[in-house]
Symmetry: C2
Subunit: 188 residues, 2 copies
DNA sequence: CAGGATATCTAGCGCTGCTATGATGACCTT
DNA sequence: AAGGTCATCATAGCAGCGCTAGATATCCTG
């Protein structure tokens, strides 16, 4: 109520974001296996239990980072689609792979590490849906199966991203695969 | 040398496989997070350090399970391909998704958990290459890009498998996605 | 049967995620 | 202005993790 408690609320929100940012930076520089509650607490200059007053556990922190990631991914895809009106699908696909390779830690949090995020349900976070919709928008509105097309494209890109990242398929042929995928899917 | 040391060698090999089997069963019934070196040791009725006389560490045990999995996957795909000469690609793709959903723990060891397996190199284990070749064999030999086709199909299937398993895309539409993928890729 | 190699276990290290307990200090009331 | 209340936060600790050094028991060899 009072201005004082409002200030505290603000500080608390600020610290909340600080934890998320610290987790992300630590993951991006040293990998997620280096993100321990102790190191994270030290980094934000609070004790360990403070983390648990903001999040239900470590998974929840990872989820928060992932959620930020989904927001950035959606924005990244949107920019790509709008900057290439004639070849939206190809641009969005390339942007997706770009995102995965350039922010590997973030991508891992979003798609590989265990998180608490709910998908394909009513509680699906908006940024997540927004990212998916960028794929859907690449197909003409009169295509009754455009959602299905989007799911397949997304799946293929995700597979290419992780299989290439782990060396299960040669990383240097990514562009050729991208071309094959787009040509086959978008082709008449 | 002696018959005695031969027997010991045999016993050792047997116990080696026992560890792998125990790890796999434990993972399949309770998930990989339940597979700890302590529980595994208890299960094979030996002490913890024995595990380390057979494997370099926990990751190596997971890798051994994964390698078994690649052998089974290759056999599974091969059967599917041979039993449907007219629609090999569709049969192999369906078999792949089947494998992923029916043996989730095994699939996780093969594609998601950290392992020591080398891919796309000279040391690629034969079963792994064999599985990939089943996809390649679905395309005509005169297609100079059949390896590329196989990589894209495999990527798409992997994406579909993991995204659907984690609920990021609706699991009940898997068959429709499969159809779309096969039609688009195999189509003229 | 004695000696030595080999196989195996006990015990423990440093780490993990997580939490019960208690001190600290800012706030509101009288 | 003093006293009591309550939220905030840190200290210290638990159970479990992967892994290993050192002690122990077992069995084969000469």
């Amino acid at each position: 109520m009072s201005a004082i408690s409002e200030r505290r609320e603000r500080e608390r929100a600020h610290r909340h974001q600080l934890i998320i940012t610290a987790a992300r930076e630590l993951a991006e520089t040293e990998g997620w296996e280096a993100v321990t509650t102790r190191r994270l607490a030290e980094r934000v200059e609070y004790s360990q239990p403070v983390l648990y007053s903001h999040f239900d556990g470590k998974d929840a922190i990872v989820s928060a980072v992932a959620l930020d990631g989904f927001g950035e991914l959606a924005a990244h895809l949107r920019r790509a689609r709008q900057s290439a009106p004639g070849a939206a699908l190809r641009a969005v696909c390339r942007a997706y792979l770009e995102f995965a390779t350039e922010r590997p830690a973030l991508y891992q949090a979003m798609f590989i590490l265990p998180t608490n995020l709910k998908f394909a349900s009513a509680e699906t976070p908006p940024p997540l849906r927004a990212g998916f919709d960028e794929f859907v928008s690449c197909f003409p509105p009169d295509n009754a199966r455009r959602e299905l097309f989007a799911e397949v494209v997304w799946s293929a890109l995700h597979g290419m991203a992780v299989l290439s990242d782990s060396g299960r398929i040669p990383p240097d042929k990514q562009e050729e695969r991208l071309d094959l995928l787009v040509t086959r899917i978008a082709g008449t």
